[in-house]
Amino acid sequence: MTTLDRRPAGGYGMTRPEPESLADLLERVLDKGVVIAGDIRVDLLEIELLTIRIRLLLVSVDKATEMGIDWWTRDPMLSASAGDNQEELERLRRRVEELEGKSEGEATGE
């Protein structure tokens, strides 16, 4: 079994970005495996909501912005880490608005 490649394999039709494999990893280490109570009791279910938000955050920023997902820019808990991307987000948001304007124009037959 040591001859097997332990690195994530490429998908069909696309290369998978690293952050996504982090989402898959979190899915496993938080939800799967041997689940028993240790002496230190922390209910991971309590952070389930947070986990979902993390998964959203792991979506590549431009994809998310394309889809209009930008709540983290207003979330004080996460805005610190989002700060670096602010400029890029702004640029993408302008680009999306531009494109939306264009497709509306097409839709009304102008």
Partner: protein, 252 residues
């Protein structure tokens, strides 16, 4: 002096050594044994991993990522060294090694059964995404069109989407059934929401497959063959993973 705890990464039948791998915060790993079983643990500071600080840290993406990757790194090292491990859930911490050993004693039967299920096997993930109609047909959009033409096209699109949704379940079941033939055990995880995947296509299958390492090539080939035969879906293959999804214990 601050309190210390024993963080459990995994359990297995550990015979070899784990090489150069260190645990969280670069702490040395040790093995707590009971009969032929060993739990891989390292010492953590309860100033960081106690109940209250842990609750706080788990809200911090950077912290969580680092701990998750370290956890996985140790699990993989143990996996490579033994061929079968049962990974423990992130942040399973006992106060002492004696308490860790007590867990091994009480879980002995279940752990050995779980290890027997996964020995010499790896977990693979296959996700299926339904391609959108537009992508499949690749019809160029007319440069100009009337409002009626637009509405008709839009209605056809919506009908297509509705049909696709009905078909999606059947397609997912088919793909899963075919892959299951090349696997020793299977588990369907909930498909991730498209807002989570970042893809415009809907995920219709999020499957975990436990595959004998000697059949890994056959499994890969099965995925490739399915991908070629089903142009309506896009398949992604990831792995091999340690058998995270196949070591749940009955009592848990």
């Amino acid at each position: 002096m601050s309190d210390l705890g024993s963080y459990i990464y995994a359990a297995g039948r550990i015979t070899g050594d784990l090489g150069d791998v260190h645990g969280l915060r670069d702490a040395p790993l040790r093995i707590v044994r009971w009969q032929e079983l060993g739990a891989i643990v390292s010492t953590v500071d309860l100033d960081e991993f106690g109940e209250a600080p842990l609750r706080e840290h788990l809200e911090d993406l950077g912290w969580l990522e680092q701990v998750a990757r370290d956890h996985d790194r140790v699990v993989r090292a143990a996996w490579s060294a033994t061929g079968a491990v049962a990974p423990f859930r992130l942040a399973t911490i006992c106060r002492t090694d004696e308490a860790v050993q007590a867990r091994l004693v009480s879980l002995y039967d279940e752990l050995t059964q779980a290890l027997d299920r996964v020995i010499g096997r790896s977990e693979w993930t296959v996700k299926a995404f339904l391609r959108t109609e537009a992508e499949e047909a690749e019809e160029p959009e007319p440069a100009t069109q009337s409002g009626t033409a637009y509405l008709m096209r839009r209605r056809a699109e919506l009908d297509g989407q509705r049909r696709a949704a009905v078909d999606a379940q059947a397609v997912a079941d088919d793909v899963h059934r075919e892959l299951a033939q090349a696997a020793d055990a299977v588990r369907r995880l909930p498909p991730q929401d498209r807002r989570l995947t970042g893809y415009t296509e809907a995920m219709i299958l999020n499957g975990a497959y436990l595959v004998d390492d000697r059949s890994a090539g056959r499994f890969r080939a099965a995925v490739a063959e399915l991908a070629a035969r089903r142009p309506a879906v896009r398949l992604t293959l990831d792995g091999p993973w340690p058998p995270y999804s196949f070591t749940s214990l009955e009592s848990a």
